[in-house]
């Protein structure tokens, strides 16, 4: 299943909205969008994942990449991830540096 990725700016927040499946095949698209988002210089990068039904470790790699690309003071938020997706993020220990939020 393909991945759809959109990028917008809402005030001081860069919003990336994902829908579909995030795996080794589709993660490069997410990667490219993160690169653009990191260049916007907002205080928060919010990744809306409610529409993501599946995420493999390739998606984790993208989230780690996001942490590497943004400045230290920028908050990365993952919003609305379904339970197995947030479990994957927690298993990798990324919930210590990325804010996981239900809404």
């Amino acid at each position: 299943m393909p991945l759809s990725v959109s990028l917008s700016i809402e005030g001081d927040t860069t919003v990336i909205e994902l829908a579909g499946e995030l795996d080794a095949k589709t993660a490069p698209e997410f990667h490219q969008t993160i690169e653009k988002a990191a260049g916007h210089g907002t205080g928060t990068v919010e990744i809306r994942m409610a529409g993501v039904g599946y995420m493999a470790s390739a998606g984790l790699r993208s989230l780690v990449f996001a942490q590497q690309k943004v400045a230290d003071h920028v908050t990365i938020k993952v919003v609305g991830a379904i339970e197995p997706v947030s479990r994957t993020i927690r298993t990798a220990g990324l919930d210590r540096s990325i804010v996981l939020s239900d809404e």
Binding site: D23, A24, Y54, A56, S57, L60, V64, P84, G93
Partner: protein
């Protein structure tokens, strides 16, 4: 009754080229078996994730982008799915290649590759590996949530 008797005698089989593009076919194959075994959403997700991570690892690191094949065989039974993944890449035991997460390590120095294997192994209920006739064979079993191997009679 042994576990294997409860599983289908003839495994379903899928052979694909070891490419990123074939991972979707493997996922569809696994989800079909999960559906046949009436696994709930959580268990179906776990078996899909585990097989996807191991297959991705074979594509990326086993064959290192070269030509190769991956054979996936699956058996389903009431409340469980057993999948074996076979490849002819150099010997690789996922249990030895498993890299637990290192929360103390800064993100920029984390190796995410080993985490894929960790995700796979923590997603399944049973796992075994063997090297036979120049092939790696990983066998994974996922049971439906709350499956009891010997349920009480009503």
């Amino acid at each position: 009754m042994s576990d294997m008797v409860e599983l289908a005698r003839t495994p379903a089989e899928l052979e694909v080229p070891a490419t990123v593009g074939a991972l979707g076919d493997i996922a569809s194959f696994v989800l079909r078996l999960a559906g046949r075994a009436a696994l709930d959403k959580g268990a179906a997700y776990r078996i899909r994730l585990a097989v996807d991570e191991l297959a991705t690892n074979i594509v990326m690191h086993g064959y290192r982008g070269g030509d190769g094949r991956i054979t996936v065989r699956g058996r389903s039974g009431p409340g469980r799915v057993q999948i074996s993944i076979t490849d002819s890449a150099p010997a690789f035991d996922p249990v030895e290649g498993c890299l637990p997460p290192a929360p103390g390590t800064p993100p920029e120095r984390r190796r995410v590759g080993g985490l894929g294997i960790h995700l796979a192994l923590t997603s399944v209920d049973e796992f075994s590996y063997e090297r036979r006739d120049g092939r790696n064979i990983s066998t994974l079993t996922v049971k439906a949530e709350g499956t009891d191997p010997c349920p009480p009679r009503p």
